[in-house]
Amino acid sequence: MRASEIFPLLLGPGEDEGEEWKSSQRFESFSRGLRHMLPSLVWRVTEAAQKKTPLYDEHVRRGAKMVPFAGWLMPVQYTSIVEEHQAVRKNVGMFDISHMGQLIVDGSDSRSWLNTMLTNNIDKLEVGQGQYTFLLNERGGIIDDLIAYRISDKKFLLVVNASRTDEDFEWLDGHRANNVRLGDRSAHFGGVAIQGPRVTELFVNLPARNHIVDLELDGMPISMARTGYTGEDGVEVFFRKSDAIKFWNLVLEKGKDLGIKPCGLGARDTLRLEMCYPLNGSDLSPERNPVEAGLGFFVDFTKPNFIGRDVLLKTKENGSREKLVPFKMNDKGPPPRPHYSVFENGERIGEVTSGTLSPSLNWGVGMAYITAPHAKIGARIDIEIRGQKFPATIEKKPLYKKS
């Protein structure tokens, strides 16, 4: 597949400035009102009330198993989590990420303002570059983890978790400075992640790592970022909702000889866990901060001011009570799962937040928050599974390394 043309302006595909802002803000205020009035109804959703991505019909047509996830009906797998996982590790796989939120920040003060809202340093981004970063509350707790792309001098695209999109928007809007515009383009755009070592055989002119470019592909304006959540080389591509099915099928067709597979959330979870990439809602929450989560690298303490900085700095200086650590089971046995208790010498020291059988290692792996004094690489711990303790060892990140 050949990306035929590169646009240097990075405005995002088909984004119609004035119209877009108005309509997205109107939509936002409506959904916000509904949520505040009916919190229980919003969460206790029936299948019919789940949102569908622009690729929903295509997933169903291709026989994917659909499950509710973060308010969306998403494919958990097409054929087998293990097969889809291996396709990404060995060849290439494609995931629907249309459920993820896409927020736009613009305006003359956008850069300086965003730098007070996010932990990483926006000033380090050149136009077309992205960075992993956190949105924190006043207590330093994690509202969301996201990628912020600088798409022009004063314009940013924030790609956020599906389950947090509304919350992020409300938080940002509530703290919005003058001369900053905030838009939610999520409803008008879709996206896919195309991941795996053979992605370089699928596309030419891939953007540099963590960079995003606007391209036109077979008449479709797209934004392509060299980012992902699998540990493999790959891209995340954003396009207009109306182009979603055409783009999806075009990539599957072009990737046929490379062994491309459509993949579900199941494989996305095992792939990210092998790399120790955190999942918000499991490994991250408003009660946890980036230092405890072992992700202090994405916090720039040299910035004079950002929400959560003071609390976070204290945690950094005094040390956190608990730390998120990756671990590997010592023996073949039942895989660890979220909420299993962690012990050391009979003392309960923590809880598993993510766990599975790693398809690459064919072995049980996971991540757990454990009390800081016990959080040492190489330390032996026990995972309690159905009343029985199974030995495990704290490992270095990542749990899986390419041989």
Binding site: S80, I81, V82, G333, P334, P335, R337, L357, R386
Partner: protein, 125 residues
């Protein structure tokens, strides 16, 4: 989806094959296809007594752990050790080499509470 006519079924997706005063138990083709990629099986202990609908084994896929229930009251007299080395047998041969345990049943009348193939087919749609 394969639902053999000569077996009995539970609502919780176990199949039951009568062998004299014993029953052989596994999970259905439908269940294994829903679970996919079985990676670990925790077998019941030999000689364990169980009531109907009591969880006595666990089948784990990549994604989740699922309890397997005793379909009727009885005693565990055989377990499929082959599943320890090759849990994928449940995916490949759910009604054959993927069986999980054999129960000696207390009362053959209890089998009347189980579904026949037609009723199970209706359940899974």
């Amino acid at each position: 989806m394969n639902v053999p006519d000569d077996l009995l079924y539970t609502e919780s997706h176990e199949w039951i094959k009568r062998e004299g005063g014993k029953v052989r138990v596994g999970i259905t083709d439908h269940a294994q296809s829903e679970l996919t990629d079985v990676v670990y099986v925790e077998l019941p202990k030999m000689d364990r007594q169980a009531n109907a609908k009591e969880a006595i084994a666990v089948v784990e896929s990549v994604k989740a752990a699922s309890d397997i229930y005793a379909p009727v009251k009885g005693t565990v007299v055989e377990v499929n050790k082959a599943l320890e080395a090759d849990p994928g047998l449940i995916n490949r041969e759910p009604f054959g080499q993927g069986w999980i345990f054999v129960l000696k049943i207390d009362n053959a009348d209890d089998l009347k509470n189980l579904k026949d193939a037609a009723a199970y087919k209706q359940q899974i749609g």
